[in-house]
């Protein structure tokens, strides 16, 4: 019971972090049709900016400053990079963001070096929130969940209740009409791109000190974000939410299960012992395959339902 509850809480906090990352990606995709390969790099930039500004100002100002800085970088990328490439088609935009990911990683190497930086959880949050049975639950994870949920709620409110949100929603489906009505649609695009990058940056601020802040973090998290977006469906925020919680749970829970195919067969009464030539392959436990499971899910989803869980737009 204890294991189940603790793992549930852990998978919730990890899933919400994934959602913060993938919501930006899916927003950008649904708006502009471009899959931003550099999205995880903005996540990394958020962590590094938070580390750097945190050295000067402390964690709490950095929590607000770093995503804004990342948003500015995103806006510049869109205005001077993506917009110019846009007229050459989707493939060109994809390649541009792909190259951008490498450039950002090398810039990080140049400025902060190749080794991990000491970006720590602030002392004010470094305590135990509560003790479930015998395991302590760190307050920082609860804070992460709080910020994720708060950010989601405010995103939802902005998109549905404010004027700019309505314009963004309209531009999602009818950009020409919105332009004809006199709104500056390219500026809206830039705003959405910057907003998506700022979301990734916020995820970086929170995730960077829980997981290590190092130049390889973009690469390690980037693939999972794509799995989330594919499984949830391109262009659907709700789909991304469900998928990130699902992937978070799969990754966290699967570590706890030491059952293999052999155990399944044993439960059915079929004993496969170590003399069998298939033993090595069949004795692989779920916990050993835990890192692979999200990708397996993605492959299955692409075979069975390429649209994703709630996809509205074909790739």
């Amino acid at each position: 019971m204890e294991f189940f509850l603790i793992t549930l809480l852990n998978s919730l906090s990890y899933g919400l972090l994934l959602f913060m990352l993938s919501s930006g990606l899916t927003l950008i995709f649904s708006m502009m049709g471009v899959l931003n390969f550099a999205h995880a790099s903005f996540y990394m930039l958020g962590a590094y900016f938070a580390y750097q500004t945190g050295l000067v100002f402390g964690f709490w100002p950095a929590l607000f400053l770093a995503p804004i800085l990342v948003g500015v970088v995103g806006a510049i990328t869109e205005r001077y990079g993506l917009r110019k490439v846009h007229k050459f088609g989707h493939v060109a935009e994809l390649l541009f963001t792909f190259g951008l990911a490498y450039v950002i990683e090398e810039v990080v190497h140049l400025i902060w070096g190749r080794a991990p930086v000491d970006y720590r959880i602030p002392e004010s949050l470094n305590f135990t929130l509560f003790t479930l049975f015998n395991t302590q639950y760190p307050a920082y994870r609860a804070f992460m969940m709080l910020v994720s949920v708060g950010m989601l709620v405010s995103l939802y409110l902005v998109l549905t209740k404010t004027r700019i949100g309505l314009i963004v929603q309209a531009s999602l489906t009818h950009p020409e009409m919105v332009q004809a009505l006199g709104h500056n649609v390219p500026r809206v695009f830039m705003l959405v791109f910057a907003g998506g990058c700022a979301l990734a940056g916020l995820a970086g601020v929170l995730g960077g000190n829980l997981f290590i802040t190092e130049p390889g973090m973009a690469f390690s998290v980037g693939s999972i974000v794509f799995v989330v977006v594919v499984v949830g469906g391109m262009g659907s925020l709700v789909g991304a939410f469900i998928a990130s919680l699902l992937i978070g749970s799969i990754q966290t829970f699967s570590v706890g299960f030491d059952y293999s195919f052999i155990d399944l067969m044993a439960a059915l009464g079929v004993i496969i012992d170590s003399n069998s030539s298939w033993y090595a392959g069949l004795s692989i436990t779920i916990s050993q395959t835990a890192p692979v499971l999200p990708y397996l899910l993605m492959v299955l989803m692409l075979i069975v339902r390429p649209r994703g869980l709630m996809g509205t737009r074909e790739t």
Binding site: F3, T7, P116, T135, Q136, Y140, E214, V255
Partner: protein, 410 residues
């Protein structure tokens, strides 16, 4: 035209030196300097620089030659390591130092042996300071490979000796990295504990991908659920630091039995909650005797601003034995030096060590130590300015660490 091109080819080929015509012997530090293990690669490089500078200051090498260190980033990846070894050869490397990741070590060892067979006029020696997979001195042994740290079986034998006397522990959890080294640690722990403490229950045996897991909380939750009283792990680098971090955050109070907790960041991460609970088996730590404390302080003097404290006794041993071998054989030719290294005895700060001639494994005393508070214990050196340091619990003399070997040099 032909003459010009011939001249160009001739000039170019002169650039490929094997270090013997120059006044320096080239040490190639082929290690992971980027990626998840970049920080410990940097630490090892600092240790190497410290020792090589000391050798050059002493100036006792034959013909007045000096040692020179050139770092090469292998990204802790066997394929990259082989690529980078080629560029190291172009730079005229004579001795390759590597240790982080046994999979890289095995690949490099094979490549160096192959190079030596095909290019006997440019021999290269492999000085392994930390890759502990027993295979390197058994089925994959090579004449050009020398290991300066105890292998997994030697260390696990020492550790399990200590665990066996801890009657308060009756369940342990094994967690290791999923590659040859981690498998070796897990297998050794199982087989040795079975013999020394048959009533000890091994309640879990996890293998996780190396360098990829950033969040160990699912594993810690599992360990908690299993009710284990101790964790035995061969993890190193960020894999160990993050494991300890998760355990601390989730308030899981178990004893840790590790190979490497004194390495970068481990002590700072576990902090005071690890006092009396965290153990390691190593070939060196700062508080073995006065000589080791001196060496620890020397490291701090040379690098006052870095985060970590001295750790790699094996690097100092390797460089000093190399120096002694060069002086004894009167040359820096790796082949001759290699012959001098076999069967060499050396008085290291922690004790007397000797290189086995049958498999090129160093026989050295091993120390099981635990984390303690420094305050009130006169003259103990602390780690990473935490006020905590290691205290020896048990010393295993060098000769008792000898293991049987299947190595056969051709």
């Amino acid at each position: 035209m032909r003459l010009v091109s011939l001249l160009c080819v001739g000039l170019l080929s002169l650039q490929v030196s094997c270090g013997q015509t120059n006044k320096e012997v080239v040490i190639g530090f082929v290690e992971g300097l980027s990626g998840p293990f970049a920080n410990i690669g940097e630490v090892a490089l600092r240790h190497l620089h410290l020792e090589v500078d000391a050798v050059n200051r002493r100036g006792n090498l034959p013909d007045g030659i000096r040692m020179k260190v050139i770092p090469f980033d292998n990204k802790t990846n066997p394929q990259e390591a082989l690529l980078v070894f080629r560029s190291a050869l172009d730079a005229g490397v004579d001795y390759v130092f590597q240790g982080n990741s046994s999979s890289v070590a095995i690949a490099l060892s094979g490549a160096i042996a192959k190079h030596n067979r095909r290019n006997p006029e440019h021999p290269v020696l492999f000085m392994n300071y930390a890759a502990l997979d027993p295979a390197l001195t058994n089925e994959h042994c090579e004449k050009s490979h020398f290991r300066f740290d105890a292998d997994v079986n030697m260390k696990m034998a020492a550790l399990t000796e200590y665990i066996a006397v801890r009657k308060d522990i009756d369940s342990v959890y094994l967690i290791n990295q999923d590659y040859s080294y981690g498998h070796a640690v897990s297998a050794a722990a199982r087989s040795m504990l079975e013999v020394k403490r048959p009533n000890l229950r091994i309640v879990g045996d996890d293998l996780h991908p190396i360098g990829r897991v950033k969040d160990f909380s699912p594993y810690i939750a599992k360990i908690k659920a299993s009710g284990a009283q101790a964790i035995v792990t061969g993890n190193w680098g960020s894999d160990l630091t993050l494991l300890i971090k998760s355990a601390r955050q989730m308030g899981v109070d178990v004893d840790f039995f590790t190979f490497n907790v004194g390495m970068t960041g481990g002590v700072t991460t576990i902090g005071e909650s690890g006092v009396e609970r965290v153990h390691q088996v190593t070939n060196w730590h700062a508080n073995i005797n006065e000589a080791t404390q001196e060496n620890a302080k020397l490291y701090r003097v040379k690098y006052p601003d870095v985060f970590e404290d001295a750790y790699y006794g094996s690097i100092r041993r390797a460089v000093r034995m190399l120096e002694k071998a060069m002086i004894e054989s009167g040359t820096h030719n790796p082949e001759v030096v290699g012959r001098a290294l076999r069967d060499m005895e050396f008085a290291d700060d922690a004790g007397l060590v000797s290189m086995r001639a049958d498999n090129h494994q160093l026989l050295l005393p091993l120390f099981v130590s635990k984390l303690v508070k420094i305050a009130g214990k006169n003259d103990l050196v602390d780690i990473e300015h935490t006020g905590l340091g290691f205290e020896t619990l048990a010393e295993i003399p060098a000769e008792k660490t000898r293991m049987t070997t299947t190595c056969q040099f051709e």
